[in-house]
Symmetry: C2
Subunit: 164 residues, 2 copies
Amino acid sequence: MVARTRFDADECPVARSVDAIGDWWSLLIVRDAFDGSRRFGEFQRSLGVAKNILTARLRTLVDSGVLQSVPASDGSAYREYVLTPKGKALFPVIVALRQWGEQNFFAPGEPHSELVDRRQGHRLRALEVLSADGRRLNPDDTTVHKVSAQCPEPEPDAGTPPCR
Amino acid sequence: MVARTRFDADECPVARSVDAIGDWWSLLIVRDAFDGSRRFGEFQRSLGVAKNILTARLRTLVDSGVLQSVPASDGSAYREYVLTPKGKALFPVIVALRQWGEQNFFAPGEPHSELVDRRQGHRLRALEVLSADGRRLNPDDTTVHKVSAQCPEPEPDAGTPPCR
DNA sequence: ATTTTCGGTTGCAAGATGAAACCAGAAATG
DNA sequence: CATTTCTGGTTTCATCTTGCAACCGAAAAT
C-alpha cells in the first residue's frame, strides 16, 4: 500500500483540516466559492483546472461537508455548489492565506486582487491571534496541550469520576 | 508538458500562498516548527513522512523563505530548520486551520491537541475577520477588488498620471 | 431540428509520493 | 583510537495522482 498518507485520524486539528482541504485545488475552489462561483463551469474557467480533477475535488468537498450540491438558482436543470456553514467557517483560513500572500509574494505596487469591506470599500484589518482576555499573542506566547478524553458537560449526579 | 500547475504568478494572493505551502506536508512541517521542532529527525518522527519527501519539502520551504537552515543550537555539526519572519507570519494561518479543525472534525470530548496561551493556559480566542474600523465581517460582507498597478506613494510633482 | 453549452467520464503519458535499501559523516562508546 | 550508533540524507522502484485531450449524453439555445 503506497496510497497517500491520511491525517483524518490525527489528534491534531491542523492535521485533520489539512486532510480535508490541504491540496492544491480545494482551497482555491473554496476561495472561488467565497467569491461567488457556484457552477462547475465557473470554477473550471476561473481556475483552469482539468475537468476530471475538478470533478474529483468537488466530490470530496461535498463528501466532507464543505460544499453542498443544490439545484441551480436560475431555474435550469443543472446543479450548483455552495458553501455549507462548515465551508463558510473557512473564511478566516482564506483571509489568513490572503494576507500572508499579500505581504510576502507581491512587490510594492504589483497588481493583485484584494478583499475589501463591502460597505466601505476598505481593506480588512490584519488578523490577530488573541488570548482569551484579548492580549495579542505571538507564536512564542503559546504552547500545545494534549487534551485527552475530556468531559464536555459535567453531570452533577453522574457516577463517573470527573476528568483530571 | 504535464507538470504540476503553478500559481506563483497568479494575481490572487491566496493562490500564491497555496503555491508556496498548499501541499499535504508543508503546512504540517510549519506547524511542527511552531511547536518547537527544528531537526530533520524531529520532523521525520513527528510526521511519519518518508525521508525523501521531507528532504524535498524542507528544501522548497527554505527556497521560498519560510524556513531557514542554521547551525544546530546545541553545538553539534548538524543543521536545524527554523522559521523565518515570513514563516512566523503564517501563525494566523495555522491557528485558523486549527480552530476550523477543532470545531468541525472532533466529536465532543474527543481527545485532541490544543493551542493555549502560555501565560494563563487558556484556549485562544476564535479568530475574527474585522473591517478597518473593527466591525466583525462575514463572508458576504466582503468583495474582491482588483488592484491594478497601484501607485504606492503618489509623488506630487510627478508627470505620470495618477492611478484610477 | 440542429447546434451549442454544460457537466461530466475515459484513457493515457508523465510527475509526485511512499517504502525500503543504502551511504557518508558525526557522535557516542569502549 | 577503533568500533558502533545516530543523523541526515540519496537512490531506486512500484504505485498513485495529476494534467491533457478526446469523447459523450442531457439540457439549452437557435
